[in-house]
């Protein structure tokens, strides 16, 4: 088993997958805690569907670097959903969960429709399948993709560390944060942009349909065991990275789809932490 693992680690694309997987899972778990506490868990799902729709547009337009379309579109929709839904005047009559559901289903349907009508690929079903479930995308990255992921992940990490206290204040009580002089609107905008970037990156790791699992599960697992914001954030990051690495290695060794194996590892850890919490506290 170990011989096989070391043999596989000789291939550069396996090393790329491990580097990118670690970075993406780290970033997604950090913002995941904020999203879960702000009751925006489902936004990851909605935005990943938007990213899928943007990917379809990029494929139709035959854009060589599809990030040029996916990233701006996803960021724009993230700002609309996260910032617009806070302000009733900005998002006239469709608010909150209805807006997320509408955008999510609409983008998914339009993306699939565009890919079917205009795609030049001989295997449209395969292209759609691998984008939605991320069976192989993490193992087919080029060095440029890895560098881009490293730069974006480093940016997300630096922003999170620099504005940790502000993000903490906004997560729990926006009114209190506003009263203490924090520019809540600007920070909500920043969080929306970061989340969009993470989701676009995470699509490579687990596919569009499973992105929300990467955001939600590590945070929920950490919340079963720890209580403070800081300890939950650190624990979520550790859990997320361990689950991603385990998932990637198991998928490579056992020949299972990468995305669903990572999510299966996340689910397993969630149940373990749930049982641990139950034993320790005697309640759910």
């Amino acid at each position: 088993m170990l011989d096989k693992l070391f043999f596989y680690l000789d291939f550069p694309f396996v090393r790329y997958a491990i580097i990118v997987g670690t970075l993406i899972s780290l970033c997604s778990s950090l913002l995941g805690v904020t999203l879960v506490l702000k009751r925006y868990s489902y936004i990851g799902d909605g935005l990943s569907h938007v990213a899928f729709g943007a990917l379809a547009i990029a494929a139709v337009l035959k854009v060589s670097n599809n990030m040029l379309i996916i990233l701006p579109v996803t960021i724009a929709v993230a700002i609309l959903l996260l910032c617009g839904s806070k302000d009733s005047r900005a998002c006239v009559k469709i608010r909150g969960d209805a807006a997320i559901a509408m955008v999510s289903a609409g983008a998914l349907a339009m993306g699939y429709l565009l890919m079917n009508i205009f795609s030049s690929s001989a295997n449209v079903a395969g292209d759609v399948c691998t984008t939605l479930f991320g069976s192989m995308s993490i193992l087919t990255l080029k060095p440029t993709d890895v560098y881009l992921c490293m730069i974006l992940s480093a940016t997300v990490l630096v922003i999170f560390i620099l504005f940790y206290h502000k993000i903490f204040a906004i997560t729990f009580d926006e009114n209190f944060a506003r009263a203490t002089g924090v520019n809540v609107s600007a920070f909500n905008l920043l969080i929306a942009i970061i989340i969009a970037v993470i989701i676009v990156l995470a699509m490579n790791l687990v596919g569009a349909l499973l992105v929300s699992a990467l955001i939600v599960f590590p945070s929920l697992s950490a919340m079963r065991i720890f209580k403070s914001f800081f300890s939950v954030t650190i624990a979520a990051a550790v859990i997320s990275v361990i689950c991603s690495l385990t998932g990637i290695l198991v998928a490579i060794l056992a020949g299972t789809p990468v995305g669903s194996t990572i999510v299966a590892a996340d689910i397993l850890v969630f149940f373990i932490s749930y049982i641990t919490s139950f034993i320790r506290n005697g309640r759910m």
Partner: protein
């Protein structure tokens, strides 16, 4: 002296024959020993970045497939593999070292085959090359 020369000649012949035999069975990349995820990724790498693999001896297991190209009036044979979700498939074309009659001497479409041959880039008239396993042996 004549005897010594004969023995020497025999030794050289034997060594060169065994060297040839070992070259034929030598494998640089054995895809049959890898997991399905790794096989799919390796084939993807070979198709998207073929220059790295030119001249390497490849052994792979997959499903037999054939395709007749009317433009070039040539029949292509392929070894097809599927990804872990079985929704995507890709493969490599191969050319047998000893040509056989189609279809009587070939397996049926979709049958499991093992191919052992040398990875090459075959140039087309427009200058664009496509990857193909040449000088191949096919096992069922």
């Amino acid at each position: 002296m004549y005897k010594l020369f004969t023995i020497l000649l025999f030794c050289i012949f034997t060594v060169s024959t065994s060297a040839k035999a070992s070259t034929n069975t030598h494998v640089d990349i054995d895809l049959t020993r890898m997991s399905s995820t790794m096989v799919y990724t390796m084939v993807f790498q070979m198709v998207t970045d073929p220059q790295k693999y030119v001249g390497k001896r490849i052994k792979m297991k997959g499903a037999f497939s054939s395709y007749f190209d009317e433009e070039t009036n040539r029949r292509f044979f392929g070894c097809i593999i599927k990804d872990a979700l079985a929704c995507c498939s890709q493969g490599l074309a191969f050319e047998l070292a000893k040509p056989r009659k189609y279809p009587s001497e070939y397996p049926s479409e979709g049958s499991s085959i093992i191919i052992l041959g040398t990875f090459e880039l075959e140039k087309e008239e427009d200058g664009i090359g496509f990857p193909i396993i040449k000088d191949a042996k096919m096992f069922r």
